[in-house]
Symmetry: C2
Subunit: 264 residues, 2 copies
Amino acid sequence: MYKVAVIGWGNVGYHLSLELSRQGIQTFVVCRNYHRKTNASGAEKNLHLVNSIAELPNDIETVFLTVKDDQIAAAATKLPEKMVQNACVSHSSGVLPANHLKGVVPNYGIFYPLNSFSRDQDFNWAGVPVFIESGQERVSRFLHKVAEEAGARPVKNDDLIREHLHLAAVFANNFTNHLMALVSDMLKKRGIPFDYLHPLIQTTVEKVLRMDPAKAQTGPAIRGDKATLQKHLSNLEDEDLKTLYRQLSRSIQKLSTDESDKEL
Amino acid sequence: MYKVAVIGWGNVGYHLSLELSRQGIQTFVVCRNYHRKTNASGAEKNLHLVNSIAELPNDIETVFLTVKDDQIAAAATKLPEKMVQNACVSHSSGVLPANHLKGVVPNYGIFYPLNSFSRDQDFNWAGVPVFIESGQERVSRFLHKVAEEAGARPVKNDDLIREHLHLAAVFANNFTNHLMALVSDMLKKRGIPFDYLHPLIQTTVEKVLRMDPAKAQTGPAIRGDKATLQKHLSNLEDEDLKTLYRQLSRSIQKLSTDESDKEL
């Protein structure tokens, strides 16, 4: 039976280890103080939770490092010599190159699922791109199989594409979430429930998934509705928010002009 | 049977008229050249489509003006004297006050659904806040019933709340959609399919609907991960995009500090 180790039990490590064990892979998780982190659902009951790298069996075939980017190399150096001679050590960073561990361990790779993971929510692997690479053909095949069996979308790693997607993900996830946080904060200050916006947010995302977002753009900025833009600015008290509103509105108008130019 | 007229057959007028007729209300739609606008699905077959206001019956009880904000007053003045003596004339603007038609017609009101409508997509009324007001108790009850029967969330109009929600909607819908349009444009230029991001976008919105977005914030800005912020900036070629990236990242850090302050 294939034996793997997951080192780091943050959001990615947690969901990855659950999926590996669900697939019947013998999964060892290195996690200090895991008693405090185990989930009430008991979903992790098939995992072998251990306190330290020293407790791992030597015949691990793939090590998944799901620690923070700046700890990946250090974690790899802590693995016992005997283990890394045979095992492939893969990292899960969106920004570091696939060969980040070159020179640190003999067999290195990458297994990077492009999504946002939360410990307290089941993870839906459906269609999630997973960037995969390993110098060992055998490991590559294994990683592809893991991704496929999870319902994800395995992609042969291409550092450049992954890099651009990681940046794009910041806009699509971090910045979008932040706009919602700003809105939630604005409304909270006025005692208006944020959930008034839930149906709109659902509509917005349905459209984004269905059609070219540039073509779906609506609102006062693209209409050039100066009266509404002015009214909105006068309703914003915070100077930084006013600046952000102006800049995003200008950006909408600029992209719309670029798009029209292309159609000429 | 209750008789209504919908004047203006844009995205709101279209879906509102379909819903009214679905509820068994006799619905007249004024739409010039409607032959060119009818939908292949034939969903509008129960509507009475007419070319001009002059073709409307005189015993209309509620007129829904769904034209653009700056045309609302002008459209109201075109209604025949006989009709407006009895009918309530309501508008559907997110920014104009409920009494915008005061002085133009004797009975005025508002029926404003807060969402984003597209002609080519079924509209889901579930939970959509609809701001309602009318000086005639009878009309108010009718409008509430329409909203409720559609599955929406009728709200007694409060100009101030509606105004703030309209502004919030620009952030939640227009700006969010624009971020996606920027991302789609960035990826297109590199030949990378936008649909790689679909699962992430779905995860993002699921989180926003489930938890306080300020608490769900992830990414390099909130982590203070300077190396990744620098790498992302170096990957952005467009100066305006760099500015937007910096500003949104700063705004994430600022809101995060504000949030921590509150917890002290």
